[in-house]
C-alpha cells in the first residue's frame, strides 16, 4: 500500500468500507428471513405437536367435545390437490413446450406468455370466483371437482413458466444435433429436449403442488369444505386449509388445537415437497456437469 498516492488510498479505503457495509446489510437481511422462518416453524411445532395423535388421521371432523380428527380434510386435500395437479400440470407443460419450442418469439407466443404471467400473479380468490361462475353455479352446487379445477388453474401457469424456463436451459446444441440426424420437430422435443429437461420440469411440478396444497381462498367458493367424510367429487369436500380457516377462529380449544396440528401437517408436507424438488434439481445439475 505504501506506493499508493493519498488520493488512491482514500479511494481504496472508501471502497473497502462500502464493501463491508453492503455485505453486512445482506447478512442482516438473510438473518431476519431465517429468524422469521424459524419463529414460524417453532410456533407451529410447539402448538401443533401436542395435538398430534392417531385420531387426527383416523377420525373425521366432529362436534366440540367429541373426539374429532382431520381424516376427511387430509383425504379431501389429497384428492383435490392430486386431481388439480393432474389437470393443471400437463396443461402447463404443454404451454411451456409451446412457448419454448414452437412459438418462441412469435407474436402469439408473446401474448400467451404475457397472459400466463398475469394468471401467475392473479389473486387466488379471483380464481375461486371464476370457477364458481363456470363450474359451481352451472352444476348447481359446491363440489370437490370445482375445488380441484380452481387448484388446477393456479398450478397451470406455474408449471408453464417453469417448464419454459427449464426448456430454454437445454443447450441449443442438443436440438441442432437431433435436427442434423434427421429428426422432425416433434421428435426433437419428445426424444431429446424433454428427457434432458425432465428433472427440471418435475421440480416445477412439485413446487406447483406445494403451492396449491396451501391454497385456501379458491376452495372457499368451490369445494366449500365439509365436516363429514366424503370422497364424492360432486359434493362439497373438506380440505386442510379450509379446516384450519374454520377451526383457528373458533372458540373451542380442541378445534384450535386441531387447526395448529393441521397447519403443521401442511407445512411438513410442503417442506417435504421442497426437499424432493431440490433433489430432482440437483440431479439435473449433476447430469449436465457430466
Amino acid at each position: 500500500m505504501k506506493q499508493l498516492s493519498p488520493a488512491s488510498r482514500a479511494r481504496y479505503f472508501r471502497r473497502q468500507l462500502v464493501d463491508r457495509v453492503m455485505s453486512g446489510l445482506c447478512m442482516v437481511a438473510a438473518g431476519v428471513g431465517l429468524v422469521l422462518l424459524g419463529l414460524i416453524l417453532w410456533m407451529l411445532f410447539s402448538n401443533g405437536i401436542g395435538g398430534l395423535k392417531l385420531s387426527v388421521f383416523t377420525n373425521s371432523m366432529a362436534q366440540p367435545g367429541a373426539e374429532g380428527g382431520l381424516a376427511n380434510a387430509i383425504v379431501g386435500s389429497l384428492i383435490q390437490v392430486g386431481l388439480g395437479a393432474t389437470i393443471g400440470a400437463p396443461l402447463g407443460m404443454m404451454v411451456g413446450v409451446y412457448l419454448s419450442e414452437v412459438g418462441k418469439e412469435s407474436k402469439f407466443a408473446s401474448v400467451v406468455r404475457f397472459v400466463n404471467d398475469i394468471l401467475l400473479s392473479a389473486p387466488s380468490v379471483l380464481i375461486g370466483l371464476f370457477v364458481y361462475q363456470i363450474a359451481v353455479a352451472p352444476m348447481g352446487g359446491f363440489s370437490g371437482f370445482a375445488g380441484a379445477l380452481s387448484l388446477a388453474l393456479i398450478a397451470m401457469p406455474i408449471v408453464a413458466r417453469t417448464t419454459e424456463d427449464i426448456l430454454r436451459l437445454v443447450p441449443q446444441a442438443y436440438r441442432d444435433g437431433a435436427v442434423a440426424l434427421g429428426s422432425r420437430e416433434n421428435e426433437v422435443v419428445r426424444k431429446v429436449v424433454l428427457p434432458a429437461a425432465f428433472s427440471g420440469i418435475l421440480t416445477g411440478v412439485l413446487l406447483a403442488v406445494a403451492r396449491i396444497a396451501g391454497e385456501t381462498a379458491p376452495l372457499l367458493f368451490t369445494s366449500l369444505g365439509n365436516t363429514n367424510w366424503s370422497t364424492d367429487l360432486t359434493q362439497p369436500m373438506a380440505s386442510l386449509p379450509i379446516a384450519i380457516y374454520r377451526y383457528a377462529g373458533s372458540p373451542y380449544p380442541e378445534w384450535v388445537s386441531l387447526a395448529w396440528t393441521g397447519a403443521m401437517l401442511i407445512t411438513v408436507g410442503v417442506l417435504v415437497l421442497n426437499i424432493l424438488s431440490r433433489f430432482s434439481h440437483a440431479a439435473v445439475a449433476g447430469k449436465s456437469q457430466g
Binding site: 444435433g177 435436427v179 442434423a180 440426424l181 449436465s288
Partner: protein, 291 residues
C-alpha cells in the same frame, strides 16, 4: 492455433515443394496422392448459391464441385460464409428464422435445395458434426442408437447392437467405451465425445458428413485422433469440413476452397492451393497477410 498457422505460412513462403512437412503428424495415415482423390467422382454439385439472413446476403453466387471419397476443406476468415455454405448442404439454415437460400445443390442428380425436397430426408443422407461435441444427455449406446431408431433402420435388438458396435469401431472409439456403453455420453472426454457424435452420425450410414470446425474445441492430441479418423472415413464417405486452422486443412484435406466476404475465391487440390494459389487473395490469406 496461431503457432500452427505460422508453421503453414513459413512452409509456403520458403517455397517448399509441397506442404508435406506439415502433413506429417505422427498419427496421420499415409497420405494418398491428392490428385487421385480429386479425379474421384463428384458427390455434390453446388450451383449458383446465394444465401441471405434477412436482408443481409451471406453468400454470392457460389459454384463448387465436391468430390466423393475425399476431405474437402472450406477455409477463410470468420464471417466469410464458409459455415453458411456448409449448413446449406444439409438444409440446417432452414431452422434459422429469416434465412433464405437460392440456387441448386445437386446430389445424385437431385436438387437437395429444392422446395419439394423434405429437409429431413436430406439430413439422413448428409450427417453433421458440430464445433462443440454435443452428445445427448443419455448413454453412449443410446446416443448411437438414436438415428437408427428415429429412422427405424433396424427390426431387432441384435441388429441395433451390431450397428452401434460398427459405428463406434469406425469412429475409433469402440475399444475405449465397449465396457461402459450404458454410461452417460457426457462422461467422456472432449475428444471422445467428438468421436461419439461422429459415430452417431455414421450410424445412419450417410453418404456425406459435414464437419463445422470439428477440432476447434479439442486439445492437440484429441485433434490428431480426429484427423487420423478423417483419413480413414473418407475411404467410404465424402467429407466436407470447415476449419480455421490452415495447417489442418493442409494436413487432412484433398480439396480446399477459400472463401472471402461471401464469395468463393478459389478452389482446387489442396497441394496446389497451398503451394501455388492462382489468386492473389488466396496467397495473402494462406501466408497470413490478412484474415
Amino acid at each position: 492455433m496461431s503457432l500452427m498457422t505460422k508453421e503453414a505460412s513459413e512452409t509456403v513462403e520458403a517455397g517448399a515443394p509441397a506442404p508435406r512437412s506439415i502433413r506429417g503428424t505422427p498419427t496421420s495415415a499415409p497420405v494418398v496422392k491428392p490428385t487421385a482423390a480429386v479425379t474421384a467422382a463428384t458427390r455434390i454439385k453446388i450451383q449458383d448459391i446465394n444465401a441471405f439472413y434477412g436482408e443481409k446476403q451471406a453468400l454470392f453466387g457460389v459454384n463448387l464441385e465436391i468430390p466423393d471419397n475425399a476431405v474437402t476443406a472450406f477455409i477463410g476468415a470468420s464471417g466469410c460464409g464458409k459455415s453458411t455454405l456448409l449448413r446449406c448442404l444439409n438444409r440446417m439454415n432452414d431452422t434459422i428464422p429469416g434465412a433464405r437460400v437460392e440456387g441448386r445443390i445437386l446430389m445424385d442428380g437431385i436438387d437437395v435445395n429444392g422446395t419439394e425436397i423434405d429437409p429431413v430426408q436430406v439430413r439422413t443422407r448428409i450427417g453433421m458434426v458440430f464445433q462443440k461435441p454435443n452428445p445427448f444427455p443419455i448413454s453412449i449406446y443410446e446416443n448411437i442408437a438414436y438415428g437408427p431408431r428415429t429412422h427405424k433402420l433396424t427390426s431387432s435388438k441384435a441388429e441395433l447392437d451390431e450397428i452401434v458396435e460398427r459405428s463406434l469401431r469406425r469412429a475409433a472409439l469402440w475399444d475405449e467405451v465397449k465396457d461402459r456403453l450404458g454410461k452417460p455420453g457426457l462422461g467422456l472426454s472432449g475428444g471422445q465425445q467428438q468421436r461419439l457424435v461422429i459415430a452417431r452420425a455414421l450410424a445412419v450410414s450417410p453418404a456425406v458428413i459435414l464437419m463445422d470446425e470439428p477440432c476447434s474445441a479439442l486439445d492437440p492430441i484429441a485433434t490428431a485422433h480426429i484427423e487420423a479418423l478423417l483419413d480413414e472415413l473418407r475411404k467410404h464417405t465424402c467429407i466436407v469440413m470447415v476449419t480455421h486452422s490452415m495447417a489442418q486443412a493442409a494436413r487432412v484435406s484433398q480439396v480446399t476452397a477459400f472463401f472471402h466476404m461471401g464469395k468463393l475465391i478459389e478452389s482446387g487440390p489442396t497441394d496446389q492451393i497451398f503451394t501455388m494459389p492462382k489468386v492473389e487473395q488466396t496467397h495473402d490469406y494462406i501466408t497470413g497477410r490478412f484474415g
